[in-house]
Amino acid sequence: MTISEERRTMIVSRGFGERRREPDPSLPPGQRTTEDFPVMSAGPTPVVSPADWRFSIATERGTAEWGWDDLMAQPIDDVTTDIHCVTRWSKLGTRWRGVSLDHVLAAAGGTEQVSAMIDCYGDYTTNVPIADLVGGKAWLAFEFEGEPLEPEHGFPVRLIVPHLYFWKSAKWVRGLRTQAVDEPGFWEVNGYHQYGDPWREQRYW
């Protein structure tokens, strides 16, 4: 369809557009920036102390388990990144500290499988392809803007996979299981997209 054809078939809302704000090219389509850090989760906030926190890494080679001290013993990255929530807010230049998933998977001897299911306290799950977890693209984060995570933002540890919509960046993580096929997690079963690329607006299935 050419642009003029699209114009002709366009459904216009009479008189709409006076209150528009200029779109920002650094934002994926349909997103707006926020200065706050809105909370989005399916239910209430689980309470987990660092002392009780465990993270299990289950691959086809076996299972490893980390506690808080094991996480702290890893190389720690400072990460500055934009984040994009499917509910249409984005936050630019957020700063995190965490351990790259490259180290997490290496600790379990690596994997040949294609996908991982991330498990959380509070029974939330999400699926992420392995290719999106390795190569410095994903972290187990424990600090946001120089402070420990707030309880409602995942204390003590959350995943961040900032190049995908933020529901993939699961809060209160307690483990990952590699899987031979990319099975859907919680929101993915409940209507959200299997992959979730904000630049392609993969919000829902």
């Binding site: 114009r7 366009m10 459904i11 216009v12 809302s13 009479r14 008189g15 709409f16 557009g17 006076e18 209150r19 528009r20 704000r21 349909g30 809105p38 909370v39 989005m40 989760s41 399916a42 239910g43 209430p44 906030t45 689980p46 509910t87 249409r88 807010w89 509070g122 029974d123 409602e152 919680f186 929101w187 079963v189 409940n190 209507g191 919000r203 829902y204 299935w205």
Partner: protein
């Protein structure tokens, strides 16, 4: 499914509350929706500029006529247009229905506690209507928090639903009606302990409204012993 943008025409509109509007909209090709789902709304200006927002649906079932209730955020972009400018006969687009989790289906027979703050009543109204329309006798209770009496959507229809197995508790945050038994104020632990179906009865809980309201209610209920797995939340932002 939620793939295509569908044309929607406003067929009726009114102002049930001073700061919000209810819109009845006919959607061509609507596949039907479950109680509790929402749509993405897309508005297009004459010059092609577009904006999208999410709105819950207060109706349910196969009908292509959907009802929305929209609160005005005075400094917002889309809600003032929907509350003040759009008229019967005007068109926009919707995509949906969206959401498979924040839904109630008549096959669920257990007790249900609904908790709404302001326009958060919208998806819960769809659940109350689905219960009525299906003849379900699942025990329902609604706690509906509003600024004051004039700010309640669906007030009359809700009062008609009230009955032995459908309880309604109004919570007024700014001004209570003359002679009301409780001073105005926000929900707190004591109030929820008093009004919400006890944790021991294992109700399914649905909470919807502005994010701070939802957070407060959900955390207080967990504190009161409700199983987090039974609490479903929908946050409107703010």
């Amino acid at each position: 499914m939620s793939g295509d943008w569908l044309p929607a025409t406003v067929i009726d509109a009114d102002w049930p509350i001073p700061t919000g509007r209810s819109l009845w909209v006919r959607v061509d090709g609507w596949p039907g929706n479950l109680a509790g789902q929402h749509v993405d709304v897309r508005l297009t200006a004459e010059d092609g500029y577009r904006a999208e927002r999410s709105y819950s649906i207060s109706t349910h079932g196969p009908s292509p006529v959907l009802e929305f209730a929209v609160d005005e955020l005075p400094d917002g972009e889309v809600s003032p247009y929907l509350v003040h400018d759009i008229e019967v006969g005007d068109r926009f687009e919707v995509r949906g229905p969206v959401g498979r989790y924040f839904v109630w289906e008549p096959a669920q027979t257990g007790p249900v506690q609904l908790i709404a703050g302001g326009s958060g009543i919208v998806p819960l109204m769809a659940m109350a209507r689905a219960r009525r329309d299906s003849g379900s006798d699942a025990p329902f209770k609604l706690l509906y928090s509003v600024r004051g009496e004039p700010y309640a959507y669906f007030a009359e229809e809700l009062e008609q639903l009230r009955g032995e197995t459908f309880g309604i508790d109004w919570v007024y945050t700014k001004r209570a009606p003359e002679g009301w038994h409780r001073p105005p104020g926000r929900i707190d632990r004591e109030l929820l302990e008093q009004l919400v179906i006890p944790a021991a009865e294992q109700p399914s809980v649905y909470i919807c409204g502005p994010t701070p309201f939802v957070e407060a209610a959900a955390n207080l209920l967990v504190d009161l012993g409700h199983d987090p797995a039974r609490i479903r939340t929908e946050r409107f932002g703010g």
